[in-house]
Amino acid sequence: MSFKSALESGKFTVTAEVGPPKGTDIKKILHEAGMLKGKVDALNVTDNQSAVMRINSMSFCKLLLDMGQEPILQMTCRDRNRIGLQSDLLGASILGIKNVLCMTGDHPNAGDHKEAKPVYDIESVQLLQVVDGLNNGRDLMGNDLQGATDYYQGAVVTPEANPIEPQMMKFEKKVKAGAKFFQTQAIYDIDKFKVFMSDARKFPVKILAGLVLLKSAGMANFMNKFVPGITVPQELIDELKAAGKEKALDKGIDIMARHIRQLKDENICDGVHIMAIGAEDKVPAIMERAGLL
């Protein structure tokens, strides 16, 4: 079943994420992707995440397709203008890529080419409009296409953004611009997430809760301090600490599995997006403990 059909059928849908490496040696990522085959409904392929230059998303999406896996092409507006973005969207479409996640993209300041000229010719909301246009056979300028695309397009939202009001207004703009599904920034507080969902449920879109695997108490503290829009509650940090250094990762897997169970059992959202960040090999264990395999 395709990612789109899975979500639309009401199945609790699972996506995970892989980040192509910097350089042409792809043994590791192929192995990780292979481990997830038949387990997740789709795999996001990041687009130069954190503005660090790597293999582009489209090429690795094509390799996934060849392996019989369903990719979600992540597309940011940082590195390409409206001509480049549309051209790549047409190109990805003829390769058979069906899903695209539209994002603005981290600023080059975060990455390893800080002197780069940031593009941002258009941004996430407008990129969603572009995809909608291409799906309907016309480009951004209204020119007719010789053959339309058929994308299932999604976007991101930060449920714990502070302040939340402008974030929710942007969420609504993304829905209007044609987003069909959302993968959220990492959430750790399910009660807070329920509040977000009670708002989000008013719109005809599918929501996958973003979950980042906690590998240690130190990592949780780091995210609280430095990653905007992510808050790891103190109870979880205490749990990781109590587990001790060697068992912290295992505890992190437990915590995520527990969250997935709750999200699914209480029918809080439509699925989860698992971000293991360097521990992709742990995704099957997470899914097993969550009762998804």
């Binding site: 300041n109 940031p118 302040p163 402008p166 974030q167 207004m169 703009k173």
Partner: protein, 222 residues
Amino acid sequence: MIITKKRDFKDLMENLRNYKSFFLIGCSECASLCGTGGEPELAAMKEALEAEGKTVTGTLLPKTGCQTLGTKIELKKDKEACAKAEAIIVMSCGAGTQSAVEIFPDKPVFPSNDSLFLGNMTRFQMFDERCSLCGKCVLDKTGGICPVTACPKGLLNGPCGGTDNGKCEVSPDIECAWVRIYERMKKTDQLEDFKKVLEPKDWSASRKPATLNTRDKKEEKK
């Protein structure tokens, strides 16, 4: 105003190495307020050049350095001093420098400042960029705060995921433009406009080199 910053004196001296005598041109407008090309800076530059064994044949503080014709007229009284100088040093912005380039077709012209941005003076000699001269103003739709300038990504439809307690992901010294816009539009009861999707910007409006002629065509013929 155009915000300028003094260039390193050593770099300037490197540019001037082949010349001995100079005429200095400042500017009474922006460069005076920036402390880069007013009366005191002209005097200091004269002194510094003389200390390096150079000669200053004269100085002028024009009313508006980028007003090419006006500056040319003001320079008439300094005809002799200009003739004696081997090169011209302009202590204003890149526009002022290029006025001098036009006025002196046969002399080398050197800038003593870097031109940084169109800025607002927030306090004495403190400047912030608020307008990028993008050619198509969006202030009517963004509560009077320009996201093209104030947001490092120039976003037009709300904050990105990098916003954090009103701060920007690029630097905690930058206030999130879209949080500022949201707060202001909330206060001014304009949030209905905040919800409207802004279309991609027409960047052809800021294509370079820009030119504008507002003269009546009939008048031009006369």
